[in-house]
């Protein structure tokens, strides 16, 4: 039975005088806080936070948690997000006090274990990428992209190639690519995809010139296709004097199979929260470590960890772009990646990608009898179907499919992305789902395509809410609780 209290806000539960947290008494002889601070700096009262008992707080947040779908509870085939199982052992090991209770400004000599772990992770990521220069600092994939573009800008500036002001992005790319380029001070031009979903090499050629700084490539791309022309693309960009940036969002497809550094990338980021099983935390935290070629390593943000004999120490690279966030990086997320990579080891990681491919291709073989899949009958770790025909014939849109799937107990795939596919339905099953789950998902999809009317249009029916009014939310924004408005 659903707890009806669950959707009350903390502020509506507040009762004056309730409290959960108590501190010890201050020394009676000490000067009081208010006498130690200037009167004109003091607030009249503390902020009007809710007043709650501990039991209130626990029941509230436990009940709220039950309103979420999660990897622990449901199949979550959200394309491009790699919602794989988040190992419990990672949580326990990463929470050991010598890892989780370390202050970020502690001396190198006080944390040999932390630095050893981070150094080894740098080495592992460099090996998996085939790019030896590694910075663990960026806080998320988009942050890694931006950092790598700062590195590219510093590299070109030092070479005196300041006219290289253009970043090329693929039309199938994540929106973060052009947004990052803009913030890094570049202008952007879009390279088209061909009918086969791969980079249109002729279009790329026409846009390459002496203004080109970086081509940002996603490979496998957002359609789940490996761009077999990647070597040619890299050669073209390099001979125009540009660099290749690889958006590493889809690394779960190619671990130990092929390496960005081997197919021409000069810089890339990893999403350890996708590829290496860091939990997504309801939207974050992630991390966005970047790997670069030797000749770019001196520009990386600092600190990075170096090994000198048996000692590990933090150093800032000689021509560093500086830093992109405070302190070392998202060490908690990186620790989970380290534990994950050590769990699978040298041969296991390739098996991860092989099973990701197997699962995606198996699901594709079933789904292509239900939905159109515009880009072929093979994929890497994910595929993009289209609901265009269903929409025309049965008034069933990608959004309807997504909403109705929730009633069947499946999280929806990513819909309406990538932009190059009309009514896109982007499915990424990951390697941590059984054949039975994939069968059940395909069966649900099929049954939905047989449904009509309110069953579809008013879906979902079984969830705590259904089809919220997004337009009203944006038109008249209510972004906080207000005692007068509720």
């Amino acid at each position: 039975m659903r707890n009806q209290q669950a959707t009350k806000l903390l502020f509506e539960m507040s009762r004056s005088g309730r409290r959960a947290h108590h501190l010890p008494a201050l020394p009676t002889t000490a000067e009081s806080a208010t006498s130690l601070l200037p009167a004109d700096q003091l607030a009249d009262a503390p902020p009007p936070l809710p007043e709650l008992a501990e039991g209130d707080v626990v029941r509230h947040f436990v009940n709220l948690s039950t309103l979420n779908m999660s990897v622990d509870t449901h199949f979550y085939p959200l394309g491009s997000c790699t919602m794989k199982y988040n190992p419990k052992r990672n949580e326990r090991m990463a929470s050991l006090p010598g890892l989780v209770d370390v202050h970020p400004l502690q001396s190198d000599r006080s944390i040999p274990g932390v630095l050893q772990m981070l150094y080894e992770l740098q080495q592992m990521l460099g090996e998996i990428a085939g790019l030896p220069g590694v910075s663990l600092q960026p806080a998320a994939g988009a942050h890694g992209e931006l950092t790598a573009l700062f590195v590219a800008a510093a590299y070109f500036a030092e070479r005196g190639e300041t006219e290289r002001t253009v970043v090329l992005t693929a039309d199938s790319a994540h929106g973060t690519n052009p947004a990052s380029a803009q913030i890094a001070g570049f202008s952007t031009r879009t390279v088209k995809s061909g009918a086969n979903g791969l980079v249109d090499v002729e279009d790329l050629k026409s846009k390459l010139d002496d203004k080109t700084a970086v081509f940002m490539l996603t490979n496998p791309n957002t359609l789940g296709l490996f761009d077999s022309q990647v070597q040619e693309i890299a050669d073209l960009v390099h001979s125009a004097g540009g660099l290749i940036y690889l958006d590493g969002a889809n690394m779960n497809a190619i671990l130990g199979i092929t390496r960005p550094g081997d197919f021409g990338a000069d810089l890339m980021h990893f999403n350890p929260h996708k590829t290496f099983s860091g939990p997504h935390g309801g939207g974050g935290p992630g991390a966005g470590p970047i790997c670069v070629r030797d000749f770019l390593a001196d520009y990386l943000p600092g600190p990075v960890v170096e090994k000198d004999g048996d000692e590990y120490r933090c150093v800032t690279p000689t021509k560093s772009i500086g830093r992109v966030r405070s302190f070392f990086g998202n060490v908690g997320v990186l620790a989970r990646a380290y534990i994950y990579i050590r769990t699978y080891g040298k041969e296991g990681l390739r098996r991860v990608s092989e099973d990701a491919l197997l699962g995606a291709n198996y699901l594709l073989s079933k789904v292509r009898h239900i939905l159109d899949v515009p880009h072929g009958d093979r994929c890497m770790h994910e595929f993009v179907a289209s609901a265009t025909r269903l929409r025309k014939e049965k008034h069933l849109s990608a959004m309807d499919l997504a909403k109705r799937l929730l009633d069947y107990g499946f999280h929806a795939p990513t819909v309406y992305f990538p932009l190059v596919v009309d009514e896109a339905v982007m499915v990424e099953p990951t390697e941590t789902e059984s054949k039975e789950t994939l069968d059940a998902f395909a069966e649900a999809l099929f049954r939905i395509t047989e449904e009509t009317g309110d069953t579809i249009e008013l879906a979902p029916h079984s969830t705590v809410i259904s089809r919220p009014d997004d337009v009203a939310a944006a038109r008249k924004p209510i972004l906080r609780w207000n005692s007068e408005e509720s």
């Binding site: 007043e51 913030i183 974050g284």
Partner: protein, 460 residues
């Protein structure tokens, strides 16, 4: 084979048959050119089972000093505040930490409501109208606020800040601004503090002023006066504040600040050597549509029921691409959840008392340093929860190493990040510290000189 894979050999055969392939290698070969495929296994350690790996990790963990094993007086932007058990319990629920961005609001009302509650709490502690659902950390949040101000105050490119703003925050700002058309002016703080210098530097080219209050040295700035001067010149004011401090001190919104940012680590988040942390940002509602990052808002569903969704998404990269207000496409929901639980537990009285403990015990520590022969307080005047100490023997590194070996993390040395105070260290005192621990701190660092003389005597 260690790991989390599902398929039996029978599964694999059946799946390959359905696909119409004879092997997974065949699926790879039709897509990845042979010349690009790896011909060798990755050069990584061998796979490890859970028991062996945990043994290794325990060994790595045991080698580190931490705030669990040592008494911590380190601050400088990250603090050893107490984390109530409820915070860890709630955040360790898989329904929270193994979910993702609430793209499907119907199955994400838990996270969305938490975001809305978080935004409300941030509004309450900042005294400002609108908070987003969080950014990466306090340092990058300060830079995002500056970028936001530059986009709002048109045709002005000057950003003014002071050297009493966290040095790493200024480094981030520098890294971001060097690639765009903007000028960063850093005014020196001097003995009397930075407020006057900041006010003097404001001119008609100034887009925004970034001030930290309490500042990097723990001191209080005159934010109201800075805000008045900036507004008179048509510029915006950004304050980096300490969320604990507003238990006692006026909030950014009460001081006339336009955009407030903070490091939210202090609100129930562990130190974990620097991250993940929580970037707090809030602004006046007139600036709302230039806010970076995700925002949750209230609406109703088709049955008229109150609910929550991600909103104002036309600011964001997945819609606007290169015209987005920021490239950020995530937020720190799990850490925002922890902050939300933390503030719910503390309430107004708990936050106030926590702030009082910081102020009172910091003063007790200052009295001890002031009475010491070896050390001097660099600044007179009020501080919140940390202060700068000068080592007259100019031997900070050895001093702190000695203290660490005696079980005390005595402070943050400034030499690596602030050359004007290379003979100084920052001492932070949170509500967790006791008088006995303050005594222990003094005992340990006062014995450092003696330890050194003994060592010298022995080598002679």
């Amino acid at each position: 084979m260690n790991g989390y894979l599902f398929h039996t050999e029978d599964d694999r055969r059946e799946m390959l048959r359905a696909i119409g392939a004879t092997s997974i290698q065949e699926i790879i070969d039709v897509q990845v050119p042979a010349a690009l495929q790896m011909k060798r296994p990755l050069d990584l350690p061998a796979a490890a089972d859970e028991m062996s790996l945990e043994r290794d990790l325990r060994r790595l963990s045991a080698g580190n000093a931490s705030v669990s094993s040592h008494i911590c007086f380190m601050g400088g932007g990250a603090y050893d505040h107490f984390i109530p058990a409820v915070v860890d319990e709630m955040a360790s629920r898989g329904e929270y930490y193994t979910s993702y961005t609430p793209y499907q609001a119907e199955v994400s009302q838990g996270n969305l409501q938490v975001m809305f509650e978080y935004e409300t709490l941030v509004s309450q502690i900042t005294g400002l109208d609108v908070s987003n659902a969080s950014l990466y950390d306090g340092g990058s949040a300060a830079t995002e606020a500056v970028l936001m101000a530059l986009s709002i105050v048109k045709k002005r490119s000057k950003v003014i800040t002071s050297d009493a703003v966290h040095p790493e925050y200024r480094d981030i700002l520098e890294a971001y601004l060097q690639n765009i058309d903007a000028e960063l002016v850093v005014v020196p703080s001097g003995e009397s503090g930075t407020s006057e210098a900041l006010i003097d530097a404001i001119d008609d080219q100034t887009a925004c002023v970034l001030v930290q209050h309490p500042n990097f040295y723990g001191r209080l700035e005159q934010v109201q006066q800075i805000a008045d001067a900036a507004h008179a010149a048509g510029a915006l004011v950004i304050q980096s504040f300490d969320p604990i401090s507003v238990g006692l001190l006026k909030r950014p919104g009460d001081l006339g600040v336009d955009i407030a940012v903070a490091e939210g680590q202090c609100l129930g988040n562990p130190l974990q050597y620097g991250g993940p942390y929580l970037g707090i940002i809030a602004c006046r509602k007139e600036l709302m549509r230039r806010m970076p990052g995700r925002i949750a808002g209230q609406t109703t569903d088709r049955r008229g029921k109150r609910c929550w969704v991600l909103t104002l998404q036309t600011r964001e990269q997945h819609i606007r691409r290169e015209k987005a207000t920021s490239n950020i496409c995530s937020n720190q929901t799990l850490l925002a959840l922890r902050a939300t639980v933390y503030l719910s537990l503390l309430g107004p009285q708990g936050l106030k008392e926590t702030a009082e403990h910081c102020v009172v015990k910091t003063n007790l520590a200052r009295e001890r340093f002031a009475a010491s022969e070896r050390f001097e307080l660099v600044h007179a005047g009020p501080v919140f929860k940390e202060f700068l100490v000068r080592d007259r023997e100019n031997d900070v590194e050895a001093l702190l190493n000695h203290a660490q070996d005696q079980g005390v993390l005595a402070g943050v040395p400034l030499a690596p990040m602030d050359s004007q105070y290379s003979d100084c260290f920052l001492v932070a005192v949170t509500e967790k510290r006791t008088e006995a621990e303050l005594d222990r701190l003094m005992e340990v660092i006062e014995s450092a000189s003696a330890a050194r003389s003994n060592q010298l005597a022995q080598t002679l």
